[in-house]
């Protein structure tokens, strides 16, 4: 817990100043650092719009002022500098940039050819050593399509074939030639884990462990036992070795006693210490409960369960434990563990106090219209007699709550002054099939303009194709 508190403090400081290198645990040092730089942009004043600021507020006929890559103010009759670009917001709605906590853009890019299958390191059930960012192809045309849907940041995760799939990376959705130039500065990594059918099918099918759900859990435990020992060995102050987990001087699973770095255990140790946020692909309520116990056993915190089609059966507990549910609006039935999906899942997970419901995509199509996924939830809740969920509340599912799960909530996800100017201007109420993102700003730079093709990014892959959509 102490580690987590310190980690949170480090992050808060990082908002103002880059964290000094020596403050970073060796488990999460970054030899592949972000080179992302906001693009220069004139100040922007969006006026007379309906603003959902992501904190739960709705402001009608309001202005939004952006300058120097930051949100300066949201309110009525704001004064703008003389050089500000003025955007007539009448009839438009303005929201924070959309954040998707579950994407495989870049690691399973378009076109979906064999050579692009870089999302699942299906060679061992625990591959905490792999980093999704090393698979990201920045030319994936899906990034631009997501931008046209208002997505300004996303977490790109490894797939779910493995018990522990590896590190996920959070990107800013500004096109670049390298992934480092998209990497969200100082955002914590995610650790992708997976429950249930996928790992046991992949490895059981090869006649290796795990072949069952109990095999899955044994696999997580073995990995975290190794990681706990690794932490003990790598502590600054020598600690008395506890033999609680049965380890001896032979050291960790890779047999590297004596402090040699183990990439796999670095990642797991970072997760235990709270510097890497744990994101678990998990469908069934009973399995989510097992994973919460696992987290307690090894002292890590679950940032979010992803997919969680049965999260509604466990909504109170998720809220009580501060665990987010990153969910679909309507997917179900494609496999047995998805058989109990319901359309009110997100609304029910959202219902308790202190809940953290998130609309996620896991899809290059879905990421383009997370606002419509939320609209489905609003309609389903209305149909179920749960009352009318206000737009200013629902927007949090795809902005502030997503930022919270990714550990970037101090930086983006709302339109509070000082936050990154990640902003979407919509053609109308975003919770509709007809709503279109018209202008999308990333750190104040207009990265997308629906009315101007020159202001729409185009992947190198699409250049010079004889067929141009």
């Amino acid at each position: 817990m102490r580690h987590r508190l310190l980690a949170g403090l480090g992050l808060a400081l990082a908002c103002a100043h880059p964290a000094p290198a020596d403050a970073t645990s060796r488990f999460v040092q970054d030899p592949y650092p972000s080179t992302y730089r906001p693009l220069p942009a004139a100040p922007v004043l969006i006026s007379h719009a309906t603003v959902l600021d992501g904190t739960g507020r709705r402001l009608d006929d309001a202005d939004v002022l952006l300058a120097d890559g930051r949100v300066v103010a949201v309110g009525n009759a704001l004064q703008a500098p003389a050089d500000a670009v003025r955007v007539d917001g009448r009839g438009k709605w303005v929201t924070p940039g959309i954040i998707d906590v579950h994407s495989h853009l870049g690691v399973y890019p378009s076109p979906g050819v064999q050579a692009h299958g870089d999302g699942n390191e299906m060679t061992a059930p625990v591959t905490a050593n792999v980093w999704a960012e090393h698979s990201v192809w920045p030319q994936d045309p899906g990034f631009a399509a997501a931008l046209a849907g208002g997505v300004t940041a996303m977490q790109v995760l490894p797939g779910s074939a493995n018990l522990v799939g590896g590190r996920g990376v959070t990107l800013k959705n500004l096109p670049a030639t390298t992934y480092q130039a998209m990497k969200f500065p100082d955002a914590p990594w995610g650790l992708k884990m997976a429950c249930g059918e996928n790992p046991k099918r992949v490895y059981g099918g090869k006649g290796t462990a795990p072949a069952t759900r109990m095999g899955n859990v044994a696999g997580y435990r073995a990995a975290f036992i190794d990681a706990s020992e690794y932490i003990a060995k790598n502590s600054a102050a020598p600690v008395k070795r506890k033999r609680r987990f049965g380890g001896g001087d032979n050291g960790d699973s890779s047999g590297d006693s004596g402090g040699k770095r183990d990439l796999k255990l670095d990642t797991l140790a970072g997760a235990i210490q709270g510097d890497i946020r744990v994101h678990i692909h998990c469908y069934r309520a009973d399995e989510m409960a097992t994973m919460l116990d696992l987290a307690k056993e090894f002292g890590f915190k679950v940032a979010a369960f992803h997919h969680g089609v049965e999260a509604y059966k466990l909504a109170d507990r998720l809220a009580a434990e501060g665990v987010c549910g990153a969910l679909w609006a309507d997917w179900w039935g494609f496999k047995m563990e998805a058989f109990d999906g319901i359309q009110e899942n997100i609304a029910l997970v959202d219902r308790p106090a202190n809940s953290c419901a998130i609309v996620h995509s896991d899809s290059p199509e879905g990421i383009q219209r997370l606002n419509q996924e939320a609209a489905k939830v609003i309609a389903s809740a209305r149909r179920a007699g749960m009352g009318e969920i206000a737009p200013e509340h629902a927007i949090r599912w795809l902005t502030a709550n997503a930022a919270r799960a990714l550990g970037i909530e101090q930086r983006t996800g709302t339109l509070e002054p000082g936050k990154m100017a990640d902003v979407v201007v919509w053609s109308g109420n975003p919770f509709s099939s007809y709503a279109l993102a018209e202008k999308v700003y990333v750190d104040g730079f207009q990265a997308y303009d629906r009315g101007n093709r020159a202001q729409q990014p185009l992947s190198d892959f699409m250049l010079g194709q004889e067929v141009r959509p």
């Binding site: 979906g112 309507d330 359309q343 219209r369 179920a384 194709q465 067929v467």
Partner: protein, 421 residues
């Protein structure tokens, strides 16, 4: 036991077996915004009278015959029950569990089986049926998927009212292009080669006992029917070059084709319009997901329609469990230039016409089967939902396994969930 008691018991059993659909087939829907999906367009403040399961009258302030239930629509939209797309509803329960999936045939010796008829596997008790139905979906085209051969087999139109058999003619499903090439010797060129050979067999130009025959006798007979112009051949194809070949082939062989997918169909819009080929568009497909879809665009439906191509919708992805998503396809097509009425037609009249059942379903007109949906708001907007529904004039209970699960967990109580119902 007397015969009459046995009869009554049987009647009771029958009634118990059909709890989901009420018996009355008469209703008067008053004061609706009636989207007819016909040339009459939208009629505001109109009534629709249903008797005996059939639409008897449409007009303002109709008189209510005695004993007919009257439903006040309060101005809300009334549409024909929607088309759910080309799906596996009723022929699969859980996609990942092979034992529950019957949508494709894979026979090693003789993979091309046009005689395969997937509708024989249709299970009207599938949980997918009510899940789709409560969303206003009244019919689907059950499609055969390619398993062993790129000629996938036949499907048919199923109404989701509990009926056990398809209506209208069968369709033949074929897959062309990259997705079919692994079933045709690794080249899409071989699809035309093999297809030409099968046509020759079906037309009797190749002896039935030829050692190289691709089709069984039953397969020859079935393919011959489609070559005679009875029934649609639905071709799943995306690349413009493949669509061009398809149009040539269809013209040469005088067959009636429809296209499913058609990511690059907009490039051949004039030719498709001239040939009267309907296209079932996945209106959310805008990525170059494969080298067959480089030209994919959200404006596909709008461009096709503007050129006079009949546009319907169907999903490439999770078409069956999430058939309800088809409304989202239509709404997004509207957001990208398709007129609203054309989008609704793509969910109603156009598919009914393409599959030869428009004389019964797919529009609101006197004499049509009363398959109707009353919506809480705009039916093409995901922000609204189907409020009430009638199939053959019978009120459909707006319940499914999913609403039951919802209701169980919606109400908190000290009782374990297993005791709540």
């Amino acid at each position: 036991m007397s015969a009459s008691i046995v009869f009554l018991r049987r009647l009771a059993l029958l009634a118990a077996a059909l709890p989901s659909i009420a018996c009355a087939q008469d209703v008067l829907v008053r004061n609706a915004t009636v989207h007819t999906a016909t040339a009459r367009g939208t009629l505001t403040a109109n009534d629709v009278l249903v008797q005996g399961g059939v639409i008897r009258a449409i007009g303002p302030a109709l008189a209510a015959p005695a004993g007919v239930e009257v439903v006040d629509a309060g101005g809300r939209p009334l549409t024909p029950a929607l088309f759910g797309g080309i799906t596996d509803i009723g022929v699969e329960e859980v996609s990942g569990e092979a034992a529950t999936v019957d949508s494709a045939v894979k026979l090693e010796d003789q993979p091309q089986r046009p005689e395969f008829d997937v509708t024989l596997a249709y299970n009207p008790d599938s949980v997918l049926v009510p899940v789709a139905r409560v969303e206003g979906i009244g019919f689907t085209a059950l499609g055969a998927n390619s398993g062993g051969g790129f000629i996938a087999g036949q499907g048919g139109v199923l109404r989701l009212d509990g009926s056990t058999d398809p209506i209208g003619p069968r369709m033949l499903f074929v897959r062309m292009g990259a997705a079919g090439s692994e079933l045709s010797g690794s080249s899409r060129a071989a699809q035309w080669m093999l297809l030409d050979q099968m046509v020759a067999e079906a037309r009797g130009r190749i002896a039935a006992d030829s050692p190289h025959a691709l089709l069984t006798p039953a397969g020859r007979a079935v393919l011959a029917r489609y070559l005679g112009g009875s029934g649609r051949i639905v071709v799943r194809v995306d690349r413009a070059a493949d669509i061009r070949q398809l149009l040539r082939w269809a013209g040469r062989e005088q067959v009636r084709v429809a296209i499913a997918g058609g990511a690059e169909a907009w490039r051949l819009a004039p030719q498709l319009a001239a040939a009267g080929v309907p296209v079932f568009v996945d209106a959310l497909s805008n990525l170059p997901a494969s080298f067959d879809q480089i030209g994919a665009t959200l404006e596909n439906a709008a461009r096709l329609h503007a050129t006079g191509v009949p546009v319907a919708f169907s999903q490439d992805g999770d078409a069956s469990h999430n058939a309800r998503k088809i409304r989202q396809l239509a709404g997004n097509a509207v957001a990208h230039g398709l007129p609203w009425d054309a989008a609704l037609a793509g969910l109603t009249r156009v598919p009914a016409q393409a599959f030869g059942v428009a004389d019964r379903i797919g529009s609101i007109a006197v004499g049509q089967q009363a398959d109707l949906v009353l919506w809480e708001g705009d039916p093409l907007d995901v922000g609204h939902y189907a409020e009430r529904m009638w199939l053959g004039g019978r009120a459909v209970p707006m319940r499914s396994r999913q609403t039951e699960l919802r209701d169980r967990y919606l109400r908190g109580s000290a009782t374990p969930p297993a005791y709540r119902r």
